[in-house]
């Protein structure tokens, strides 16, 4: 079960993407997400996809691993595509069913949506694969640090994120254990309708919550023992410095953005 979750997973490596300043990486990923939705025709989309594939190649993350992260939302992509197929209005009617029409605009929208969602997932997975969760939360902490002005405890937030990420695999392991224990006692988790199956989860969630609280209590002790007070100024082992490399990537994204806008202008909008 733990294998299916790709959020916060890290693929160790020494590629240029791994070496990037995580702050820059987060911001550029956000910009890239915007670019994905700016693409209005196949030319622009092609440029964007080529850029993403280039990123994948540079990162050295096996394409298979990225596809695995798509597997979980394949159904969502499919449903979105189908809905858009019928939802879009206008354009040439390709197929006239009694209850709905399929237009060429609908087909384009469906394709664009499927590609957009896939690129969305792949690009954000690429970011988490090439950044350790600690670096990620550190970077988020630094990016959010202006919020300190509003008395928001940014470092506490970052610590909470780190701990949440740290305990995902531990809790998944625990769920597996509890499920097996309840199955051994005759619990039926797999049959019945949706409501019955939801009810069957209660005997799993209750022990999970109890043990999580106990874990939290022990963890708090352990953290205190290591002089964590929540308020003290902490230093960091890993410093973040922007290098020449980061400026190259920033330049690359700017070129992409400009390219997509130009291609949108010069070619017909399909959606």
């Amino acid at each position: 079960m733990a294998r299916d979750i790709t959020i916060g997973q890290y693929f160790p490596g020494k590629s240029l993407l791994h070496k990037m300043d995580p702050r820059v990486k987060i911001v550029l990923t956000l910009v890239f997400l915007v670019v994905i939705f700016l693409c209005k025709n196949f030319w622009a989309m092609g440029l964007m996809v080529a850029f993403l594939l280039g990123g994948v190649l540079i990162s050295g993350v096996p394409f298979k691993m990225l596809l695995k992260s798509l597997k979980g939302i394949l159904l969502i992509i499919f449903i979105t595509a189908i809905l858009n197929l019928f939802y879009a209005t206008g354009g040439k009617v390709l197929l006239d069913l009694k209850f709905a029409q399929i237009t060429d605009k609908g087909v384009y929208t469906a394709i664009f949506m499927a590609v957009r969602i896939s690129c969305l997932i792949i690009s954000s997975s690429l970011m988490t694969y090439t950044t350790t969760p600690t670096m990620l939360t550190d970077a988020i902490e630094r990016l959010l640090s202006p919020l300190k002005v509003f008395k928001i405890q940014v470092n506490t937030l970052a610590m909470m994120m780190t701990l949440a990420l740290r305990f995902i695999p531990t809790l998944i392991e625990e769920i597996d254990k509890i499920m097996n224990a309840q199955k051994a006692r005759g619990a039926d988790l797999e049959s019945g309708n949706l409501i019955e199956r939801a009810k069957a989860l209660v005997p799993i969630l209750v022990p999970l919550f109890v043990s999580s609280f106990r874990r939290a209590y022990e963890l708090a002790f352990a953290m205190e023992c290591r002089c964590y007070t929540g308020s003290n100024e902490r230093t960091r082992m890993k410093q973040m410095k922007m290098s020449f490399l980061d400026f190259i990537f920033i330049f690359g994204i700017i070129v992409l953005l400009a390219g997509v806008i130009l291609l949108n202008r010069f070619f017909v909008h399909l959606i």
């Binding site: 780190t162 531990t170 874990r215 022990e218 352990a222 230093t235 960091r236 082992m237």
Partner: protein
Amino acid sequence: MENIIEFENVSFRYEADEEGKLLDLAVENINLGIEKGSFVAVLGHNGSGKSTLAKLTNAINVPESGRVLVNGLDSADEKNTDEIRRTVGMVFQNPDNQIVATIVEDDVAFGPENLGIEPQEIRRRVDEALKSVNMYDFRLSEPYKLSGGQKQRVAIAGVLAMQTQCIVLDEPTAMLDPSGRQEVISTIKRLNKELGITVVLVTHFMEEAVEADRVIVMDKGTVFADGTAREVFSQSEKLLAVGLDVPQATQLAKLLKAGGINISTDILNEKECIEALVSLLKE
């Protein structure tokens, strides 16, 4: 030798339960001194107060009466808490519940980061700490992929990186398999011998206690026996009376002696037992 931790008439009880009933004292009138650089094992069955004793050493628990002094600092004074925790580090039973970060080296860095140490110095300490517990090759691994013994060694490295003078381990091997247990105990022993770190090992395994310079047996919140491993384990009847065993080798020697064989009864481990038996056979 100077004492690093000093218990003076220490009593402690946990907070009352929901009904407000006062609980019994968890430890009562403890007088102890832990010598700098020594390796002390604290033995006792469940509820004997041995874990409470451990938590009193670094101000997680503060005595109800009496004083705990760490390098002369009173643990009851909150101003000293930080300094005491820099002196006495602690490793707990469940390795999963004390690892904070998602990467081994980041976890080891957690303590020094809290102390506000310079980044390069943290890097140096982390590498050094990981090397001294033989986990340097795993520095970029994810903790949940490690075995129990490896996780526990990472936890020890986390304490080492803070450069504490004393490590208190509260049943660090209770959740480990025999090989993991062996890894942890040999690591602890090496740190004590090579780096001169004071070690207090709370355990209920006799075989681990045998390794220590000094064994303290707790029962019902008081110190029941205190001495070298040989002194303590030679009184097997007394230990059995408080629900503790003696090491198997000692037990075997005792039984042989009772059966009329002339063998020394202060045997502590298998090696000594074999030597004694071989020399008997030669005679």
